[in-house]
Symmetry: C2
Subunit: 654 residues, 2 copies
Amino acid sequence: MSPSAAMHKKAAALGKLALRMTTRAGSGHPSSALSLAHVVTHLMYHHMRYDPANPWHPAADRLVLSEGHAVPIVYAAYADLGGVIGRDADHARALTEADLDGLRDLDSVLEGHPNPAEGFPFFDAATGSLGQGLSVAAGLALGARLDHSRRRVYVLIGDGEAREGQVWEALDFIVDNKLTNVCAVFNCNMYGQAGEVSQQQSAPRLTAKLEAFGWKATSINGHEPAVIAEAFARVGYSERPVAIVARTVKGWGVEELLQGNWHGKPLPESALPAAEASLDQAAARAGNSAEKLSGPTAPAQTIDTLPHHPDPRSVEWPPFAEAMQAGGLGAAVEKGQLATRQAYGAALKTAGDLLPHVVALDGDVSNSTFTAIFAAAHPERFFECKIAEQNMVSVAAGLSAAGYIPFVNSFAKFLTRAADQVEMANITRANIKLVGSHAGISLGADGPSQMGLLDVAFFQAFSTVLGDDRETPLCRCYHPADAVAAYHCTRLMVAQTGMCYMRTHRPAVPVIYDPDTRFEPGGFNTLETGGNLAIVTAGYMVHVAKEAVEALARKKIRATLIDAYTLPIDALRLGRALQQAGGVALIVEDNYGGGLGAAVAEIAARTGSLRAETLCCQRIPKSARTAEELLNLCGVGCKQIVDHARALLARPGP
Amino acid sequence: MSPSAAMHKKAAALGKLALRMTTRAGSGHPSSALSLAHVVTHLMYHHMRYDPANPWHPAADRLVLSEGHAVPIVYAAYADLGGVIGRDADHARALTEADLDGLRDLDSVLEGHPNPAEGFPFFDAATGSLGQGLSVAAGLALGARLDHSRRRVYVLIGDGEAREGQVWEALDFIVDNKLTNVCAVFNCNMYGQAGEVSQQQSAPRLTAKLEAFGWKATSINGHEPAVIAEAFARVGYSERPVAIVARTVKGWGVEELLQGNWHGKPLPESALPAAEASLDQAAARAGNSAEKLSGPTAPAQTIDTLPHHPDPRSVEWPPFAEAMQAGGLGAAVEKGQLATRQAYGAALKTAGDLLPHVVALDGDVSNSTFTAIFAAAHPERFFECKIAEQNMVSVAAGLSAAGYIPFVNSFAKFLTRAADQVEMANITRANIKLVGSHAGISLGADGPSQMGLLDVAFFQAFSTVLGDDRETPLCRCYHPADAVAAYHCTRLMVAQTGMCYMRTHRPAVPVIYDPDTRFEPGGFNTLETGGNLAIVTAGYMVHVAKEAVEALARKKIRATLIDAYTLPIDALRLGRALQQAGGVALIVEDNYGGGLGAAVAEIAARTGSLRAETLCCQRIPKSARTAEELLNLCGVGCKQIVDHARALLARPGP
């Protein structure tokens, strides 16, 4: 029997397992799984260099299943190979064929769509929201390069999925960065969920597009073992990254699945025997020998050849002034006026000085986000992602899976463009830090298309969710008011495992904090103390609120001013502080609702004894030449804060 | 003097205006503007068929400036042509050269990045967040086709901008739909903000890519009038849509701008004279005659040849049962069990029956969102957008600008992928309706990659902002609990001008409402009345909360059950209802925080006399075979609601 015959036989056997597990689960995508049967068999039993017994091996080749719904075929192969599952090595055990019947079960690691965070470490990222896998692979490949590792990354992408623009962003990025250790496989089975795939995603059209994008693209029969092997043999031996356009059959080998639209539908139990027989016949046609496939080969390197990253909590940060000086901001600090985005740039460079695995990504705005300071100091760890934010965020998720601590940078407005990529990174529990600059109304002249106005609500929502330890939040948000705060918040982000978001502003503002001020997760700082009411705010608005507090003082109203520089915030401590400040709080924001105001209102409403009201951006901003004009237009200027505070106090409490 | 000489002269004159206005504004992008000087001159003075005195003319050719930062050159031309500005015809006046000095001013319609909503009706959509204009153009072109109009749409896209994946989604969509009335112009000036544009976006590479995507692409010198004219002359006369790759010079004609990186920086006032002289010389080199350009030609049709759309508030909707029957759901209604997504499908079809300008877009999931019901009845008004949600949302913004009422459909999870496109549509004040299905935890087996968990927080944030009338919210959210509610919420969305979001669920649920129940913007329904506490919820969770209310009743706790089917909610009425229900509220959600819970907490916290607490999804969900298992895992199952309600009552109030 030729290896081809063994491959057919194995593909059919895995197909049978995929059929059975989806039928048992009562849902899933057997037809998509079958279209990948041969490609997956070739990769997992022959081509990839990895150890099923140690899926955490950092030098192993990686597989990213971008079309996550096809996952049953990978589960089948992994169980057959005795691959190890578990959240970590302490809870590891081999997956068995019996486990497959638990697909999509509450207690199973076999999620409906791949997710390493639930205990399937063969994968590096949650997929299922389409079009993100190639970017993740690019991040893994960058990590491999930084590691001086020869590992390769294979990505399986659906033809319908190739419509997602992010795929084309990733193709550009991989060529720009010459990541020839990535191989992209397009699975052209010609059917999507609701109907046929567009001719724009046909195998010939995709092949032509890939060539035009600078890839070495080959179109092959995706069920023919010999041509599959030949195509994959080229990976790593080409000047250009290799793309394989595999022409496949949705529901391969199963008569019933070839009729009508079986996307996302399992066969009924009664149809299983005939379907299994159909697959047996398909295998039998290839020959009858009992010869076996070789199985995967070992990773190309041993673990000790790879770099070991220090614990980010173990390093000592230099004093603020020293770090700013080293970042070229000495004069600005001297003057006492600098933007939070500037201080962040110097802080990021410091993080890079201290930790060899801090990396930075930017979307063509490094001279605005001040990641240029990092880039100048650590060019090999700075990745220019150009104007393609979705790819940038998923690349960061890949870098995180490769053990790096990526900082993702753009205007706050443009980071929300990658909202779904951020969510998928969270599902993976990726350790990525997002920093959005030019947030809020204070941007002024450029207008609302450049202002982060939704970002606080968006990331605040993640901060309401608990992480896997059931104690710390899934995501922390930081919103520094000055350069000192920006420096310390960056330090906190580096030390924390998991997603963080920091929001910086365009304008230069006075330094208000002593360099040694304590900043901590969940914390806040009381900048003024008064007994009539509390004004709670963050970021740029701290400076506006300071003026308002002074104006109120002239009217004999004593306000406490709280800089709520992080979310979630310690509810107990904040509740007490508000009580001490008169039990009345005015929350002030330069963004749309659902952010800090919502967070404080929830704390106040829990007590039932605190009054709280939010003053946030009340209309879509427009251009204006000064921040002040716009703050007034949008209802959050100094005078409006004062008026609102007075009205709040004039209104009788309960 | 040849037309070429006149064109050069005009381009230089406009360039001078662009220089001056950005210098006066103290910000802006003169170098980008200059790179487009000839292309814009050709389009606005010669090629486009439109009437500067009536920018609202529905048969006029349209220009979409996707690279919005280059807008000064268009403002310059429009002022020179005496183009009309104003939010509507009642407030119209001609733009003057003197107005240009007001660029980016609070009182000016000349926004830093284009926005028709602030009074510049020559444009159809706010741009400035890159990569969205070609999709908007596709929507305008679909509108033209539905109108049987011969108008054409020109789009100007930056080379760096062409990195955004959405551009490639739009290119596919335009080919799929044979929209040869769209012309895409790529402005290849080779410089982005932070540095050079990638070779992946060079003129030859872009040309090759565009050809591979099925476009007729030509690369030209973008400062050579004769070749520009020749290239544009092909638009509308090709089987394939025409793309023009214009090789241009960033800062054309101005010596100083050709040195270093002048992206986004105006010249200082002192440098203006030399720069203007430099442009004068560039113009003089082409000849010296006083001959003038022809000016734009009139629109290809008169207004009366276009369809007139009825007022969506003027139509009478059939009774619920009749509409469901007509949508093929008679049997399900008979059984009293159907999913909100199903009822929505039939409601959408009804809207299409009643109003000829209701259109629907779907991202390859019409058999899941049930827009298939609409598609079967109104195939010419159904647009299959394939798996490319960003393009879909921006296409809808274009359709809205063309006078249509687009419903945009996908899983709730995948709509948030177009977060920035949704925000840009809001900045435009587009009249689009987004409907996200399979929201929340109840999706179950497919896992978190398919669940809408952030959607409520995201759209709630928009609902905190006021629209231009300063009274109604910018965006309304609907979250129906059953088929009747879904029907009426769809009706409300059609009647309301502006963005709406509706959230539907996968599972079939009992019909709980009388078909004639009143639903209204800001409203809520009290399903049970009790005096101990109120449970406030919406959508699928209404059914879980109903069980919880029964379980509480067995423990002698009488709960009021409020179905908060829409946001924002009438604060005064809700406050009163909560007071009557004992002054204690438990808000229950099957999504992350920042949504309904935040909205109710803000209402409660304003009073200072109501206690409110939110129970929402507390961890990232995973796969499970039943909704119930997952609700329990994520902390929002029936028993957990009961326990939480009891704990809330046991805790002493203020």
